[in-house]
């Protein structure tokens, strides 16, 4: 009854797509208007904490491989930390703009975790390609919260972070457990006769 990995990835893709749309909406209307309603202010940290909780559940079921167990645990920890800090920010407990560096660290660590736990090359299979692509996307996207910490008035950081999560959603929606990438699938990946 346990779903295949690709099913879990598609569910996360849907969650990240909604997360991206919420961030995009906040970028469009501005933080002041977006946080006028308490439930809306808590959406971003709430979704991050929810993702963290679900990633912990998935980590529990990732015992087939130590690397996957560690990777899912790192993502769960990163999402929980970023969500927790952001919740304190929107509730006014933390006021410094530099707290967005925690989000940057979470993205950086999550991206590195993707890159480290993928043992195969880019064109081994579609899942390997997506691991590399998502990993580097997250590493590069860490620049957006860093920018928000150093130059908080510029809207480009908010738009960049929103676009990142929409892109991550598209990548996760493209994932299949066994599928070729650009017409290539290694025999070792299950593509052989």
């Amino acid at each position: 009854m346990l779903p295949k990995a690709e099913i879990a990835h598609w569910l996360f893709a849907a969650g990240f797509l909604f997360f991206g749309l919420v961030l995009l909406a906040e970028a469009v209307v501005g933080t002041e208007v977006f946080r006028r309603r308490a439930w809306r202010a808590c959406l971003w940290p709430g979704l991050a904490l929810l993702a963290g909780a679900w990633l912990w559940v998935i980590a529990i079921f990732s015992t087939f491989s130590t690397l996957h167990l560690l990777a899912h645990s790192v993502w769960a920890q990163a999402a929980t930390a970023a969500g927790g800090v952001q919740l304190a920010v929107v509730r006014g407990r933390l006021t410094s703009q530099y707290w967005s560096l925690v989000t940057a660290a979470a993205l950086l660590v999550s991206g590195a975790s993707f890159l480290v736990h993928e043992q195969n090359g880019w064109l081994f299979a579609r899942s390997a390609f997506l691991h590399h692509l998502i990993g580097w996307t997250l590493v590069v996207a860490a620049i957006f919260p860093v920018g928000a910490a150093l130059r908080p008035r510029r809207a480009v950081w908010a738009y960049g972070l929103a676009a990142t999560w929409v892109a991550i959603a598209v990548m996760l929606f493209s994932d299949r457990d066994i599928a070729p990438i650009f017409g290539h699938l290694s025999d070792l990946a299950g593509g052989g006769p």
């Binding site: 009854m1 779903p3 295949k4 099913i7 598609w10 569910l11 893709a13 849907a14 797509l17 909604f18 749309l21 919420v22 995009l24 909406a25 469009v28 209307v29 208007v33 977006f34 006028r36 309603r37 809306r40 959406l43 929606f173």
Partner: protein, 99 residues
């Protein structure tokens, strides 16, 4: 005042009205565009929608159909997030006009 000379407040307000209109349009457009994306995706890759190819499919194939998830996310945004945001943009605009 005539057709060549207008009150100063009128043209000064125009950019703000246009900006408010653009923001409302963007917020109201995000959800429908996402729904449209999901529908186009379902047409482009019908094999990813279990309803079109039901033979031999298990519970999770019925529960999780990626193009329909995208449609669902667009609907969720349109129905839950967008209306309140549009109200707040208009309220902010009203406050600014009164102030």
């Amino acid at each position: 005042m005539n057709e060549l000379v207008t009150p100063r407040a009128q043209p000064a307000d125009e950019p703000r009205v246009a900006r408010k209109g653009l923001r409302v349009l963007a917020i109201e457009g995000i959800g429908p565009l996402t729904v449209l994306g999901g529908i186009v995706w379902a047409i482009a890759q019908p094999y990813r929608v279990t309803f079109f190819y039901p033979d031999g499919k298990a519970f999770w194939d019925w529960a999780v159909q990626p193009p329909l998830l995208a449609v669902l996310v667009g609907l969720l945004f349109s129905l839950v997030v967008a209306p309140g945001l549009v109200d707040d943009i208009e309220r902010e605009h009203g406050d600014a006009a009164e102030g």
